[in-house]
Symmetry: C2
Subunit: 409 residues, 2 copies
Amino acid sequence: MSRRRLLGTVGAAGATGLALGAAGGVGVYAAASGPDSGSGSSPALTTVGSTEAMFHGKHQAGITTPLQSRGHLIAFDLAPGAGRKEAAALLRRWSATAADLMAGRAPATDTGIARDAGPSSLTVTFGFGRTFFDRTGLTARRPAELDPLPPFSSDALDPKRSEGDLWVQIGADDALVAFHALRALQKDAGPAAKVRWQMNGFNRSPGATARPMTARNLMGQVDGTNNPKRTDPDFDRRIFVPSGGPQPWMAGGSYAVVRRIRMLLDDWEQLSLAKQEQVIGRRKSDGAPLTGGTETTPLDLDKFGPDGKLVIPDNAHARISAPEQNGGAAMLRRPFSFHDGIAPDGTPDAGLLFVCWQADPLKGFVPVQRKLDRGDALSPFLRHEASGLFAVPGGPAKGEYVGQRLLES
Amino acid sequence: MSRRRLLGTVGAAGATGLALGAAGGVGVYAAASGPDSGSGSSPALTTVGSTEAMFHGKHQAGITTPLQSRGHLIAFDLAPGAGRKEAAALLRRWSATAADLMAGRAPATDTGIARDAGPSSLTVTFGFGRTFFDRTGLTARRPAELDPLPPFSSDALDPKRSEGDLWVQIGADDALVAFHALRALQKDAGPAAKVRWQMNGFNRSPGATARPMTARNLMGQVDGTNNPKRTDPDFDRRIFVPSGGPQPWMAGGSYAVVRRIRMLLDDWEQLSLAKQEQVIGRRKSDGAPLTGGTETTPLDLDKFGPDGKLVIPDNAHARISAPEQNGGAAMLRRPFSFHDGIAPDGTPDAGLLFVCWQADPLKGFVPVQRKLDRGDALSPFLRHEASGLFAVPGGPAKGEYVGQRLLES
């Protein structure tokens, strides 16, 4: 009830453009950031805690939702003996819990960890791995898009931290809210599914920068400038599965490629600023192309410097990953950074929980990663340590659970 | 420069009690939370990014600073051959870096990871472990307060993650700002000191709750209600070392006890809400004593229920840890939660990075922990996995570095 009141207060504050004082020290921040931050829309004013993402809808939340400051990725394998029926019951439980938590309500059997806070932009996103379909007798409905990704030369994949029958992405702007959701969903799994792997990540806090900005990764690079924008005319076509395809249950869904990308920061930080910028092809300070302008200025890929060399080198990361160099391949990158302390070899166990979204991995992640794999100057500073590919069905209608169209039709 | 401008804007906003809109989507939140949240002072309005803690002063920052949403604890051992001279040079480098970063300035050789953000309440706090004094030829100046803590029955301490010559606590309200500081300080260490252990923690985000509240831990309990308040008449005497003692260089300093306390959450969450509240002695919903009232109502330790039993059981955590049950022993608890994923046994590797501050550990942590160790109903759900005890000298005057009074007098 106090949460509802809070939402009411905030709505009023947002409408008038005022807040604070009377609201009893309620925090206020600019909600727009992340993938959509370049769209120029004016940010809504609301509190960190009261911001609510919608569970029901055409698409699941957590795909175009602005980056959240805290994230958990968790994969489960169905328990031996559990099949389609148990999976359906689990997805029903999970959907009920996610709907409650995302609305700031306590689920029926609540751990009570995150009382006091509102939803804090919580999103819970569910996906199915390739192995899910055999285990549930649904092999005939396995999308071709879940065919294994090709190997890449920078792969050093740990199978124990890769793939999985089921995948859940949790994001929130409060660490306790995110942890609460993680525990609640693990509790829901009960004996039906066992945790296969789990990873934690983060992004900047709302309000840490003076205006909404594209994210920076742990190398210090502005990361995400060239992400497709929701206002792009072909955004939906590239990111979401259309209706009328061979797997009707995937309409409105998307495919997530998940990679734990270790950054070799001790090596990276040995490079001079100038050398780092040559590797990336953009300025570190503001993300502008080395050919000039601001962050959003297009790269001038044909510009030569006074030394007769390309200003953005042949192997610069920004050149190789540019959509115009990849036949228009596009994916929506929506990562979390990770930092799991110090690795046994003394180097930081840190980098990017890379999550990208596309209607077809063969037209998104795969061609871009193939090119990067061949000639990216950044590759020596990265190591892909885990990988997953998941079919994320469309969002549930009211009264539906996520995946119901697969599991009950 | 843009940071300075931002601070100016915010100062004006704070003074008038207004903000937003004109400030270009700048975030605004209530800064008061954590140890001082019970003091009743009205919170200052400021942005998450622009909030600045002071490096210079009577005490180091990070002791009475409100809890930050992100923290790193890191311990170093001096390299073989490094002594007092190298340690002094290192503390000088570290102090310069900390002063820059806490003011939102880039240090001379910057990794550039956290560009764009203001200081985000960054604090960097430096301490010396027992072993530091032998290695630097300063054994005669080792405070008696650094004598090893007694063993406790709930200890399962990993020496590799315990103690250390030098200890640094980093806190900030933005994860990238905290990580940037961690990397900068590691870089400063150079060949003089090697990382011994490093841990990451978090607290709630500013603005996640509708008003500043006492923290909740990962068990869901309100945690910190009984913390001493800065407004208490004996606060300084209990938390900070007075001048005129046997170690003049510790005047204005404090002793930090650091414990990695694993929470056995799978077991804890098996308990009913009623049973959890009996273990703690307080209501989970709002932290009020089981004897009634609100969070700040004193415990009624002599109240019996209709069943003839004590309402707050004999072994309830709140009873045993209550200052009035410990001869007034007081420490300022200022923890971070931690969550390092799934442990090899499948349970969550999560709990509390317990950090407490006191003028004398034998009058703060030790007597309370002794009592808890003997009869706390919470003990079966906790495991102390690492421990450190550090002498944290007073804050540096302008032109001074932290520890200069020890290392150069």
